[in-house]
Amino acid sequence: MTEPGQLTDTDHVAAPGVPALAEPVVSLAGRRRETLHFALRNKKVVGALVVISGFLVLGLVAPLFTDHGPNEYVGPPAAGPSADYWFGTTTFGQDVFLQFANGIRSTFVVGLLGGGLAALIGMTVGFVAGYRGGLVDELLNMLTNIVLVLPALAVLIILHAYVGVTSVPMQAVFIGLFSWPWVARAVRAQTFSLRSREFVDLARLSGMRPLAVIRREIAPNMSSYLFMTFILLFGGSVLMAATLDFIGLGPTDAISLGLMMNSAVHWSALHLGLWWWFVPPGAAITAIVGALYVMNVGLDEVFNPKLREM
């Protein structure tokens, strides 16, 4: 039961792996430079950044050095890793490394777009519900709860099956549409506690409109939290996309890490011993998502002075 102005504990919940916030607001108080200072000294953050940017650069740059598409038959079929084909070739003679690099690109697109959209929706819903309270809150809360209990994958499967998904961005959008509820919940809880802060009243006395209050007063206070939320959504979207791709509901006009695994399995790479076809894509996803999670913990330590000193 939620009473205006109060929160049940159930509402204030972090997804597993999401560190619960000790304090609703980590008051960064303009210590941005300080934050950066600590961030750059935090091994977790730096390590994760290196991994992620490494993959990002690979995804962005590698495809530029070749003039054929990732699906073209360029080499001998089913050849193992070699100097010419670093990650070997598929049964058709496609360059696995090329697919891999392009797949990473899709992975980032899905993460950014899917995570971004989910963050946008989740935050909007959370902010509005938390700030307005009352009936609006009740309704949005209900919506959130509904979407929350609907198993996202099942919904996505249904949607994919009916609508069909042709491109990576489209897939990302669908994923984004169904992964926001926990964000909405968390943001709502935070907004709830922030909106009773007196600076919100002061902003209102200064003639600020509600949306401006949310955007210019409340959101900046949660920026670190929102950023961490986005990171988790990014990782979640990547995993979800990989899952969908794997069961053959991925984009049809592109290559992605999930699709690589899908075709590897489809074309019996396991039995034919073509491990280079299915090991790299999964490893890349694990590395990227894992790095994101680790970065999240690192950032938590950076943002939260209590943890910083442990």
Binding site: I146, I157, I247, I285, Y293
Partner: protein, 330 residues
């Protein structure tokens, strides 16, 4: 308390209605006509036969009445446990098809969810107090929770199944056996069950361990922990309290994760050709069996709803703050 449950129930009921309605709407307004599918399948060639066949199948699938009536019928049938007829497995009733697959899925899901939750929390709590464990278990947990279910599945199937040949990689039990309760049979069931279970368990385990570790660190920082320490309480007691309190968000976390876990199970079943729901759903998609897909979807939604509700009840039982009705901001 009653109001709390009333409210929860209302939300669940509403979710259910929305899910059912969505479920009803989508196939009716999307491309892919089940009647067409049946007509194509039955190889009707002469034009005269098409119209009566169409009428016949429309009747079978209940599509020959006005939309509103179809909607009402849908609900009525639903409450009679009737989810319609499968197109792909025509003429099998969807409910039947699903019921046969569900035991396998549950056999994977329940143990993997509960055990991973239990073990993850234990290990997470241990990691929070031991630097050594923290430095080993934590990175492993991160890697695990970031692993896509199917990839872990593929690796296990490949490594332990195909290369090492220790475990079978298809089916619910050996194809050479007829079901009975002999040791051989049960052993075969377990052998086929193990790898899919393991991959589900491992991925979920990582998430819980990390969650618990982080939560417990926050709990150990809490005021009540310092107070106990100031009163000379031994670490053991403080840790026990911290663990107990950290479990609460993990319980709600479980509710939040159910959907993800179910999806994980579906994909894992596909990798291991385990005869559960995941497989059925994949086939339903590939065969445009929207009725089956709908049924499976509904089933999952109901399952998740029920599980959520159970978790809600458990939560109320273990957290006094929800019981008093005068909760403070968490």
């Amino acid at each position: 308390m009653r109001r709390y449950f009333g409210r929860k129930l209302a939300i669940y009921a509403l979710t259910f209605v929305v899910a059912v309605t969505l479920n009803w709407i989508i196939p009716r307004f999307m491309p892919g006509d089940p009647v067409l599918r049946m007509l194509t399948r039955t190889s009707v060639s002469n034009p005269e036969a098409i119209a009566p066949m169409r009428a016949y199948y429309e009747n079978v699938f209940g599509l020959d009445v006005p939309l509103w009536k179809q909607y009402v019928n849908y609900w009525v049938e639903l409450f009679q446990g009737n989810l319609g007829v499968s197109v792909w497995l025509f003429p099998a009733p969807v409910a039947d098809v699903i019921l046969h697959a569900v035991p396998y899925t549950l056999a994977l899901l329940l143990p993997s969810i509960l055990l991973s939750w239990w073990a993850g929390n234990k290990v997470g709590a241990l990691a929070a107090r031991s630097t050594w464990l923290d430095n080993t278990a934590l990175p492993v947990s991160y890697a695990l929770t970031a692993t896509p279910y199917m990839w872990l599945g593929i690796l296990l199937a490949w490594g332990l199944g195909i290369v090492a040949g220790v475990f079978p990689v298809a089916g619910g039990y050996s194809f050479e056996l007829r079901p009975d309760w002999s040791w051989v049979f049960v052993g075969s069931l377990a052998l086929h069950w193990f790898l899919p279970f393991l991959s589900l368990f491992l991925v979920a385990f990582g998430g819980w361990a990390i969650g618990m570790r982080n939560l417990i660190i926050y709990e150990l920082e809490a005021d009540y922990a310092s107070y106990l320490a100031a009163l000379g309480a031994p670490r053991r007691l403080i840790r026990r309290y911290a663990f107990r309190n950290a479990l609460l968000p993990q319980i709600t976390g479980l509710a939040l994760q159910l959907g993800v876990l179910v999806s994980g199970a579906l994909v894992t079943e596909i990798v291991f050709a385990y005869p559960g729901l995941g497989h059925l759903i994949l086939q339903a998609i590939q065969n445009q069996d929207f009725f089956l897909l709908q049924g499976a979807f509904l089933f999952i939604v109901i399952g998740v709803l029920v599980a959520n509700f159970v978790i809600d009840i458990v939560y109320v039982l273990v957290d006094p703050r929800t019981r008093t009705g005068m909760q403070g901001a968490a």
